[in-house]
Symmetry: C2
Subunit: 317 residues, 2 copies
């Protein structure tokens, strides 16, 4: 399978790197607005995507969810199967519908909102809730770097460098596992831990601004740590993330729990790995002429594996 | 959906109980060899299954894997969609093929080998392995009651009552999570813990026989506890089980881990809950005229949920 990578930010670079490990894939081309990229892969102008459509089997749209995906994704879906990682949860139904319309009109396949949340977590939420009677379900994010909160912290005057990690509160995890979820919400379930580089004179004011920032920090357990630049560079420039989907249910007095955990040293790598796996599914759905848009909930699990179905059944079932 | 329950052992009873919690299902009939059962559901002779086929939409085959499923399952699949929990891993390919043939010839759907292992664990093995480059994967069972090992223990002379729990070794779980799986096998990864009721005079001999029982105990960390009958009745008559599928991979120096955990207070209840969810999928596949046999790897996740797809996409994705 020849993969087209559309966009060359963190996600696009991860996808490019990870395709090397796939037994059945190669990079067909990277489509970018920039004329030259620091890569040995073939680079083509994204404006000429239509012209090169027969040279790739599927396009992984490594574009931002804020505006790029909603505005541009349907255009790509006219020409080839696509996979995206669109992560604006509330807008997924609209996005799926827009992609479905284009894909059906043009006999292509569009797999939307892959990645881990949405993505793997979505599958686990749906399946665990379907299995356990009277299901109570909580999603926890972290320990992990929150890009939006880190940006917010860095905008504060005096902050030279800063990151924010979202960390599930241990007692909240315990309660979720026991099914004691009443009153448990996103705020009580997560801690927000900041590591900041700043002059000592500014630290009190910075901490105050963080703690009183509405939406981002107010109402959360907040921890603010000031560290030196060397420590920051050494320990806080990675992009770890992960989380848990915890579901409990009761079968007439018997407690049951399903927990799905991700621990990811590099968030865009895992998101890219999921997109690659669903690119494989998209190519296969295209071969079956099963045109239209799909969320991960609609894709049979075996379609994401490079291993033939017979072998999977003999090995994994 | 009207569910036919074939067989009325632990699993059949769990399925009957759990159908009450389903918004879209009712018990159509229980098919049994026995003329009377202790139930308020309709009971029909299993020999007359064909005659009543139009009164149910799907049959959940709550039969033993040792001989009943291989011998009898294809016969039921002639008349209605079926779901089974056939758990002889090595024989699943043959069973799927046998069911596929009958289902295609008779325009039915057969979902085979549901439950948790095979079943939910199979899905997680396949998906996690497909996602993580250079995947290392281990399945751990327990803490949980092992039926086969408990039977073996109870056959020893002098044992008045006995159970055996399989428990994952903590250090093995840690190693699996770190990806340090070299040399890790089923034996080094699990402890076998027995609780036995026996006269004091027999205890030394019993412990000796347990520890030297080939296949079942030799090579494992074994713990033998002698307890009194009251404690046994109070604490060791449940059927808890569960386990973990742990998969790690590396994306160019970055470690990633996926862990799927089940903690089940009552094994047949959870197995039944999974079979019920896949019965829903079987009815829907039948409505789509998608005849043939399916493992859980081949069923799109949303088909097991009572919630409509649009709602799932808006809520879970």
């Amino acid at each position: 399978m020849r993969i087209g990578i559309v966009g060359y930010g963190n996600l696009g670079k991860s996808v490019e790197k990870l395709i090397d490990d796939q037994p059945d894939m190669e990079v067909g081309a990277i489509f970018s607005r920039r004329a030259t990229l620091d890569t040995t892969s073939r680079v083509l102008p994204v404006a000429d995507f239509a012209q090169y459509k027969d040279e790739i089997d599927v396009a992984i749209l490594c574009l931002g969810s804020a505006t790029d995906i909603p505005e541009q994704a349907p255009e790509f879906a006219k020409y080839t199967p696509t996979v995206d990682t669109y992560d604006n949860h509330r807008d997924v139904p609209r996005h799926r519908e827009a992609m479905d319309k284009v894909a059906r009109e043009n006999n292509t396949v569009a797999v939307v909102s892959t990645g881990w949340d949405p993505g793997m977590f979505s599958i686990n939420r749906t399946m665990a809730e379907a299995l356990l009677p009277g299901a109570k379900q909580n999603t926890f994010w972290g320990p992990g770097l929150s890009q939006g909160h880190s940006d917010a912290v860095r905008r504060i005057e005096g902050v030279k460098a800063g990151v924010q990690y979202t960390i599930p509160a241990e007692d909240a995890l315990d309660r979720a596992r026991k099914g004691e979820t009443e009153g448990l919400d996103g705020k009580s379930a997560h801690k927000r831990v900041c590591y900041i580089v700043a002059d000592e004179a500014d630290q009190e004011q910075i901490e105050q601004e963080i703690r009183t920032m509405p939406d981002y920090f107010v109402g959360y357990q907040v921890e603010v740590n000031f560290i030196d630049e060397v420590t920051f560079e050494k320990e806080h420039t990675g992009m770890p993330h992960g989380g848990h989907v915890i579901t409990t249910g009761d079968t007439g007095g018997f407690h049951h729990m399903i927990e799905y955990t991700l621990e990811l040293d590099r968030n865009p790598d895992f998101t890219g790995a999921v997109a690659i796996a669903y690119a494989r599914a998209a190519v296969r759905l295209q071969e079956q002429a099963a045109h239209g848009a799909y969320t991960v909930l609609e894709v049979p699990p075996y379609l994401i594996s490079p291993t033939p179905l017979d072998e999977l059944i003999a090995r994994d079932v």
